[in-house]
Symmetry: C2
Subunit: 407 residues, 2 copies
């Protein structure tokens, strides 16, 4: 039985691999063409391999192949390495003779998460008067964000971009969420708005820095408070023309650093035709400038995710109307904006796309926004930071070269 | 509004703190006795503070107190710091005016965990013939572990302690678990068993080392494969007398390194009176030698956990009978051991304590075993390793001192 890093196959698993190999080796030469290995592995493991997984298998097979063919022992090694990266074992899954109870793991995990509660950090960026605070209050149906102009003395616009965070804990059906909202009053409000993305980038990186320094601490907290920004809502002014240079500059600078969700603010100022044309134009602008917004195509993990996210991407940027005022419609109270000529119902999908934004941010993709922040943006920050570190200080020896053991 | 590390209280939160402070300041001196602060914080946050949390609050308050009293600004700081460590905000929780949908976070998290699958690593240690393999097969109702004596040529006992791991993926109701079982044939089987715990300790530490070196890697995997040992089942021979010196030596050496669950093997050899007396004696032995077994009293997080775990601790070590043979009892098929004088039903709680062990290991505490491994045992290893590192290599500057920013 082959062993790879202490990884041993059981007799039955070994037999299943034998059988698969023999079926593939049609000419009975004791070897198989390296090209068919990804397909063969997929047959054994079931049909759910991601494209990245298939590529990894191809590379593994090619590195072990001799003259384009793979012998059985090498095939077993390719298989063993692949088995370590997934729990999708397909035909190698061990059958049970009765109920064991591992399905309770979900409930065990749920209970623990419920006890700890969740954390989420949302940032809103855009010129003043685009309804940033109102939108946050509409999203979370509470007085979360205060209009910065009522906060400042005499409602003057600050001279530089400011960063203001406020935290709330909200609770629904026993689920507690610590919600931090960061507002950026003064963004784009100056005559010269050069580098006005800089304080925002610094703030986001400061949060990563704080997390990193907790993570590398010798004595770590059991749970590192997560103050990293999980999503940045960028408010595009409903000009009806195209993105302004400042919009593009901001998103170009930050799209690799944070999950950006661009939205068209105050969409009630656009007619349906204008809205359609403006959305199309903004999408073209973003594509032309290579700006990536959340959910990123390159991060879709399987076909199911691609289908869901592609549908979202095609509807983005969402055209939004926010309101924290309630009106009565057919005896039901709805959030909306009332004018002489009608009532815009914020949560009515026929009136605006607020509900699409809310569903994505809160009900379907909140955990994914956190995961992408952790596994992509934070990891990028960390990698650059550590590479810089080793440049300054010279390479430090990896832990496993430090000594024989720490008994 | 006071700010602590960028942490800002909202107007309503501030008002609530004002009100609480004024109620506590009965003599209207503008300050409160430092002794009452933990109680006051608890009143504001609700009644669910853990003893460790209360201690932390006491320390925070004492560090800011002047002559035993705390002024309002300092109280706000104590409060702000405490709010960052918990999502239990009690009276400071923000009320919602309608359904937001944050309860979907549980389902979002569940879906992600389901896709990834779970990992669990169980180790069995004890002399040969105590039924280690049989017990694992009984626990997971599958041919997981092979008797090592049938595996070796001619069933001879190995000359030294060996470490043999085998991995399986099992699936129930869509939940996939990658289960790794590590067996230790040869443990305690020699004439001189000195240091026979050493290869086992090294194996456990090797897994921590592997995880640590992945964790500190500059380019990390999205998901670090978790090969750390989550639980070590230690098989005590049913002598009816007391623990042997080897048993105590092993557990003393390893109880700070891994979750140890001691069990009395082959309990069918003991009468009910003998079993009761032996369990009592083993518990006394463990206590006398200061051996900690899982679930550790010091890690209980709240009263609910203490109640559940204390009930378990009082029944431990579980007296076990294992069997992978099925018999028919009243038309139902049960796992058991049949003798001339009766049938021992393994899963019958009146016959032995197998069901208690299985429930704890799989159905109620599996996630906790993983969490304790991660947050206690692995963290201990990591801390010692990094302290050793800095001793050898001199202190490396913390990341946040490396430069101003990495823009």
């Amino acid at each position: 039985m082959s062993s790879q890093q202490g990884f041993t196959l059981s007799g039955k698993q070994f037999e299943a691999l034998c059988a698969a190999f023999e079926t593939a080796d049609v000419q009975k030469r004791g070897s198989i063409d390296v090209q068919i290995v990804p397909k063969l592995v997929q047959d054994v493991l079931g049909s759910s391999l991601a494209p990245s997984e298939k590529d990894a298998i191809r590379l593994r097979a090619e590195s072990k192949a001799k003259k384009g063919v793979l012998y059985f022992a090498d095939f077993v090694e390719v298989m063993s390495e692949t088995l370590q990266t997934t729990t999708q074992w397909g035909k190698l899954t061990t059958t049970l003779s009765g109920y064991v109870g591992i399905d309770t793991l979900q409930e065990q995990m749920r209970k623990k998460a419920l006890k700890r509660g969740f954390e989420f950090h949302i940032m809103v960026v855009g010129g003043s008067g685009l309804g940033k605070s109102t939108l946050v209050n509409t999203l979370f149906k509470a007085q979360i964000s205060r209009r910065s102009c009522t906060n400042e003395s005499e409602g003057t616009i600050p001279k530089t971009v400011q960063i203001k965070s406020v935290s709330h804990v909200i609770e629904e059906k026993g689920v507690r969420l610590k919600l931090t909202v960061t507002d950026t009053p003064g963004f784009g409000d100056q005559i010269n708005n050069e580098n006005c993305w800089l304080p925002i980038l610094e703030f986001i990186n400061d949060q990563y820095e704080k997390y990193l320094s907790e993570e590398v601490n010798v004595s770590r907290k059991k749970h590192i408070p997560d103050t990293r920004v999980h999503v940045c809502l960028y408010f595009i002014s409903p000009t009806g023309h195209s993105c302004r240079p400042l919009d593009l500059e901001f998103m170009k600078r930050l799209d690799k650093v944070v999950n950006i969700v661009p939205i068209i603010a105050k969409a009630d100022t656009l007619t349906l035709e204008e809205r359609y044309a403006f959305k199309k134009r903004v999408r073209e602008d973003l594509e032309f400038h290579g700006i990536q917004f959340y959910p990123m195509k390159s991060l879709d993990e399987d076909e199911e995710e691609t289908a869901i996210n592609q549908a979202l991407r095609e509807k983005m940027p969402f055209a939004i109307v926010g309101s924290d005022r309630e009106y009565q419609v057919n005896g039901k109270s709805v959030l909306g904006r009332k004018t002489k000529w009608g009532l815009i119902e914020v949560e009515n999908k026929n009136h605006c796309e607020f509900a699409l934004l809310r569903d994505m941010l809160i009900r379907t993709h909140m955990q994914d926004l956190k995961d992408v922040t952790d596994s992509i943006h934070y990891e990028n920050f960390r990698r650059e930071r550590l590479e810089m570190h080793s440049e300054f200080a010279g390479p430090t020896p990896p832990y496993h070269e430090m000594g024989e053991s720490n008994l």
